[in-house]
């Protein structure tokens, strides 16, 4: 169901189909080099398509594509609006930076005969994440959710530690439960509305909202998506999965997968249930806010005690997801903009942080703080990039984290929720502690004996790292672009209320 102003664009389907078709090509090539070249070429082509789509969307307002020429709501429709376009660009760019970075990192961390399969899985995951973002059909979203989930289970299990296997297994169980909850929700909605098209659901929903069926659907959808999003307390799969996955996979998933799940939550609340004031009629607002605040505090506290830098950043991710969800749950335009901006900024910061950690793991072979002592002198550039990301996670002025937290605090004050503003600031102090622990180890401690030599990482790893780090700096220094985009997107989403 698209208004006449929108614009049919075949690039929308190519965005998903190109990486989807390239994945089996990687398997057929059966060589690490061939698979790498294919994956890199395809992921950069996807960036091109994504940017082209972003420009079109900013120009036209909305882009759609109808699969097989069937009109919505009967056929499956792909729709892209400004929020979606931003998410698509983030996923595509991180994906494209991951591929060159992966080449050296993967050779060290994954058995040689499995490398071509790794690239096939990366492309499948990329295609699934992009599919989730562009689809306008609730069931089609489930299919892409499973494509991206199944491939990410495989990617995590490729980690060199055997604990990667159990982490992948636990994620598989939790992820499948989450996805199944999601289709139960979709089924219940279909029972009442007879449609799967999100825009169509939106128009029909007010007529059926006062039924137990739809209430149950909302509950199933929220819990299912929260599981995939790793919203506290459904985050238990995340720390181990991020810790034991290959470094590249952690960087890719941390920067994209949770953001896409957050986007699904956004779509559910503000598109499917967009005509209904969910936050007034249901206790969704207090529930989400309490969970978000709990995530901000408890996950940050857990991060402080970690000895493993990867797991520390994983807990930090759970905390940062709290800020994103908090923004969504405020149900005001400013809050929503804050959530969206933090979604973008967190992708940049966590991408940078995990790329830097990956480089440290590459050079030292360890990810415990004890072995990384003095790393700031051995790998000054890599550690500097990590510092940029770390300052951003705290929310120091001139970093992207500051912009999103400022926006969130403004939104909270607008609604006169003073204690919440205090909690946001307090939880940032916890981030100071865990980030400081890394700084102290990196710069103030002497390097372990016999490890004084500067460590080198290949250019293919430091380039993507610094591109992301510079993007982080830029997003912090010149926030007008991201903020304007977020405000525009928030306005559009809130329009239905």
């Amino acid at each position: 169901m698209s208004d006449p102003a929108s614009f049919s664009d075949p690039w929308l389907i190519l965005l998903v189909v190109v990486p989807l078709l390239a994945a089996p090509v990687c398997v057929l090539l059966r060589s690490a080099g061939g698979a790498w070249s294919t994956a890199t070429a395809v992921s950069w082509a996807v960036v091109g398509i994504a940017i082209k789509l972003l420009i079109t969307v900013l120009d036209q307002g909305q882009v759609y594509y109808r699969i097989g020429g069937w009109d919505a709501p009967w056929g499956i429709e792909y729709v892209l609006d400004p929020v979606g376009a931003v998410v698509v660009v983030i996923v595509a760019v991180i994906g494209a930076l991951t591929m060159p970075y992966a080449k050296n990192s993967v050779e060290k961390e994954i058995r040689h005969d499995r490398i071509y399969l790794f690239y096939a899985m990366m492309l499948l995951c990329l295609s699934g994440l992009l599919g989730i973002t562009v689809t306008g059909d609730a069931f089609n979203l489930f299919v892409f959710l499973e494509i991206s989930s199944l491939s990410s289970y495989v990617l995590i299990s490729l980690g060199s530690d055997r604990r990667a296997l159990t982490a992948a297994f636990r994620y598989l169980i939790m992820g499948t439960l989450g996805a199944t909850f999601y289709i139960i929700g979709v089924g219940l909605m279909y029972q009442k509305t007879g449609t799967l098209n999100m825009a169509d659901l939106r128009t029909i929903m007010p007529a059926v909202i006062d039924t137990h069926t739809v209430h149950a659907a909302l509950a199933f959808l929220t819990v299912g998506i929260s599981l995939k999003l790793a919203l506290f307390p459904l985050h238990l799969w995340l720390p181990n999965a991020y810790t034991f996955a290959p470094s590249v996979v952690t960087a890719f998933l941390a920067a994209t997968a949770t953001k896409v799940s957050a986007y699904v939550l956004l779509r559910t609340i503000y598109t499917i249930f967009g005509e209904i004031d969910l936050f007034a009629d249901f206790p969704l607002k207090p529930v989400l806010i309490v969970m978000a605040v709990a995530a901000m505090f408890l996950a940050s506290l857990s991060a402080i005690w970690q000895q493993n830098i990867k797991r520390m950043m994983a807990y930090s991710s759970v905390a940062q997801i709290g800020y994103i969800v908090l923004g969504f749950a405020l149900a005001s335009e400013a809050g929503l903009a804050g959530g969206i901006v933090h979604m973008v900024n967190h992708a940049l910061m966590k991408g940078t942080a995990f790329f830097a950690i990956g480089a440290m793991v590459f050079a030292t072979g360890s990810m415990t703080l004890r072995d990384l002592q003095g790393i700031g002198r051995r790998m000054p550039w890599v550690t500097a990039a990590f510092v940029i990301a770390g300052l951003g996670l705290i929310g120091v002025p001139l970093t992207p984290g500051f912009i999103s937290k400022w926006q969130l605090v403004t939104a909270v004050l607008e609604l006169e929720l003073w204690p919440l503003a205090a909690l946001i600031l307090l939880s940032s102090l916890l981030a100071v502690i865990y980030v400081w622990r890394v700084f102290e180890v990196a710069y103030l401690r002497p390097a372990p004996l016999g490890h004084h030599k500067p460590a080198e990482v290949p250019l293919s790893m430091s380039m993507p790292l610094w591109i992301l780090a510079l993007a982080t700096i830029y997003a912090g220094a010149n926030a007008t672009f991201t903020l304007n985009l977020a405000h525009e997107a928030a306005q559009q989403l809130m329009g239905g209320l």
Partner: protein
């Protein structure tokens, strides 16, 4: 109890089956320590959703949706087609889960969650 109530409850038989299967499967996933049994539980859980979708599409006295004379009432084919997709996804998930269990068994020598946790805990102590 009047007959109407009884027939109403029996008419919803499919949905009672769905709820029982769903809860049984969910319980098995949570309560069982054996990884293979967890997968069995997950399958039961997913099958309950398949039954749910199939029941949803059924129209009383309806036949298969075929374009032919004499066929006027037919079941809604869309939920049935949707669930074909979900079944395929379920098979893929099960296959991947079993493959992971095989690998876990190779490297830990056990597929019992509690035993694996003890091994992992010890490893963490050493590290």
């Amino acid at each position: 109890m009047s007959w109407e109530v009884v027939t109403d409850l029996l008419g919803l038989l499919n949905y009672w089956v769905v709820i029982i299967l769903m809860m049984a499967g969910f319980y098995v996933v949570i309560a069982q320590d054996n990884l293979v049994k967890k997968i069995v539980g997950l399958n039961i859980f997913q099958v309950s959703v398949f039954v749910f979708y199939i029941s949803m599409g059924k129209v009383s006295d309806g036949t298969a949706p075929i374009l032919e004379e004499g066929i006027e009432v037919y079941s809604n084919p869309l939920p049935h087609v949707l669930i074909l997709t979900a079944i395929v996804v379920g098979v893929a998930t099960t296959a991947l889960a079993l493959a992971l269990v095989v690998r876990i068994n190779h490297s830990y020598g056990s597929i019992e969650e509690d035993e694996i946790q003890v091994i992992e805990h010890d490893e963490e102590e050493i590290a």
